[in-house]
């Protein structure tokens, strides 16, 4: 068993004025684990994700990350330069809206190659072949390499976003509703891709979703949030099959059968 957790959160608290968006959230994430955070709108799950990824400053608590480059670091004391470097190399962030996670006026190849160029890759041929390789892995046709994401469908944009994030082999990926808003069949394809990439690359991830089906498919562990607090947590199958908290029971019971 690995001795050090990849990500350690303790007492994460975030306020917006008088409103507490996140209250005292804590967990350990180990290498190769996918942690799901489920809850309805306003539960604080997206705020939590942004705090963990260093995009929002904390009002309380600490986040420690075991980095390859710098050892164990306290995110709050990380300089902006190092945070941005980590965000480009060891971390990934897949946004719900691909417009936020992609450069819409840059070709697919440029989008995928950007992180490599940012860390010093200067050979055009290499960049192109790595980008092409990843395009195929996310099941986008090679002949779209020079096309811009403006001409892609929603599902293709999400898959491109995934490729753009994974090209530097990050150890930790933050995902915010990665399949939100996609058609069901498209969602299945993206989920399948995520499932196999997580397995293949031994990724760790924190995945925010309101969809329990997505959680069931992709996550090993689950935290249920309500009103900014984690009201239940455990293995995904434990939480979904043996829910303890009244709110969790309501959530599980509310899933529409197909």
């Amino acid at each position: 068993m690995i001795e050090t957790p990849l990500l350690q959160a303790r007492g994460i608290t975030k306020r917006f004025g008088p409103r507490v968006a996140c209250r005292d959230v804590g967990f350990d994430l180990w290498p190769g684990e996918v942690l799901g955070v489920v809850g309805e709108s306003g539960s604080g799950k997206t705020t939590l994700l942004q705090c963990l990824a260093g995009k929002l400053p904390l009002d309380g608590g600490e986040v420690h990350y075991d980095s390859k480059a710098f050892g164990t670091i306290d995110l709050a004391s990380l300089s902006e330069a190092r945070r941005r470097l980590l965000a480009r190399t060891e971390w990934g962030f897949v946004s719900q809206d691909s417009r936020e996670g992609l450069r819409m006026n840059v070709s697919a190849g440029g989008n995928i190659g950007e992180r490599l160029m940012a860390v010093g890759e200067r050979h055009y041929g290499n960049l192109r072949s790595v980008a092409d390789d990843w395009l195929q892995r996310v099941e986008i046709d090679s002949d779209r390499l020079d096309d811009r994401p403006t001409s892609f469908s929603g599902g293709m944009r999400q898959r491109l976003q995934i490729a753009r994030n994974l090209v530097t082999h990050p150890r930790l990926v933050f995902m915010d509703e990665p399949t939100g808003g996609l058609d069901v069949s498209v969602q299945a394809r993206v989920l399948d891709l995520l499932r196999s990439l997580v397995d293949e690359l031994h990724l760790s991830a924190v995945l925010v979703t309101h969809d329990l089906g997505v959680a069931r498919l992709l996550t090993h562990r689950l935290m249920v949030m309500q009103g900014g607090s984690v009201i239940e947590s455990g293995l995904t199958d434990q939480v979904l099959d043996d829910p303890q908290h009244p709110y969790t029971q309501t959530l599980v019971a509310s899933i529409l059968p197909v």
Binding site: E33, Q238, P246
Partner: protein, 232 residues
């Protein structure tokens, strides 16, 4: 040690908040143990807690008290008190679970689904796929179905895929919940042979077998469960 699994004083109840917090007590201090090469059949009427017990052994249901000690990698792990990642590790390498119904994952081909547990353990992909195919063949799932996702299969075909996915990895402990319920005679015969083989090779098995004939063929012992007085 030859005892692979040891359960002591297991208590499990469910509180349904939507029904005013009514508490349903299912297990009230169950104890049992299973040794290598044994197949323990849980018997008892519907509602006695057989499935609940099996799911608790897998860590799927969380008991309120008691212990479930399993021999994992030369250490003893208590499934009731273990850390989530420990339970995940036990499930990866020590305890296999065949549920009553196959949980279908969209788009994944049958043979890949069956090979997955081996690949997760680090077995080479080609080897894993090969073993998956062998097992599927043994269970009578025809090769023409291997490249298809099982969503459109019949109940019996799905169940055989389910069995194959669990048995491909040769777990030291197997939990079987009505593994042959939707199989006709020809097919459950194959499954029973496989299960008996594993038992004789040293696996410790706990199972629920609705069919008495099947039970008689695979079980070495039985454990009786009765429903606790009260609503079931």
């Amino acid at each position: 040690m030859s005892t692979a699994l040891s359960v002591s004083g297991l208590v499990k109840h469910f509180t349904v908040h939507a029904q005013g917090g009514v508490r349903m007590s299912v297990l009230d201090g169950v104890s049992l143990s299973v040794a290598r090469g044994e197949c323990l059949a849980l018997v008892g009427p519907s509602g006695a807690g057989k499935s609940t017990l099996l799911r608790s052994l897998y860590g799927n249901y969380r008991p309120q008290s008691g212990s479930i000690l399993v021999d994992h990698d030369g250490r003893v792990v208590d499934m009731v008190a273990a850390e989530p990642r420990e339970i995940l590790d036990v499930r990866r390498r020590t305890i296999g679970y065949v549920s009553q119904f196959l949980r279908v994952i969209p788009r994944v081909a049958t043979r890949d689904l069956v090979a997955e547990p081996l690949i997760r353990r680090g077995v080479e992909r080609d080897v894993a796929i090969g073993r998956a195919g062998t097992l599927l063949e043994r269970l009578g799932v025809p090769a023409r179905l291997w490249k298809l996702p099982p969503a459109t299969f019949s109940g019996g075909e799905q169940q055989r895929v389910n069995i194959a996915r669990c048995l491909v990895a040769e777990f030291p402990v197997l939990l079987l919940d009505e593994p042959t319920a939707s199989l006709d005679r020809a097919n459950w015969t194959r499954a029973v042979e496989l299960i008996a083989e594993r038992r004789d090779a040293g696996a410790a098995i706990v199972g629920i077998f609705h069919d008495a004939e099947v039970r008689d063929l695979v079980a070495t012992r039985t454990h009786d469960l009765q429903p606790i007085g009260g609503s079931a």
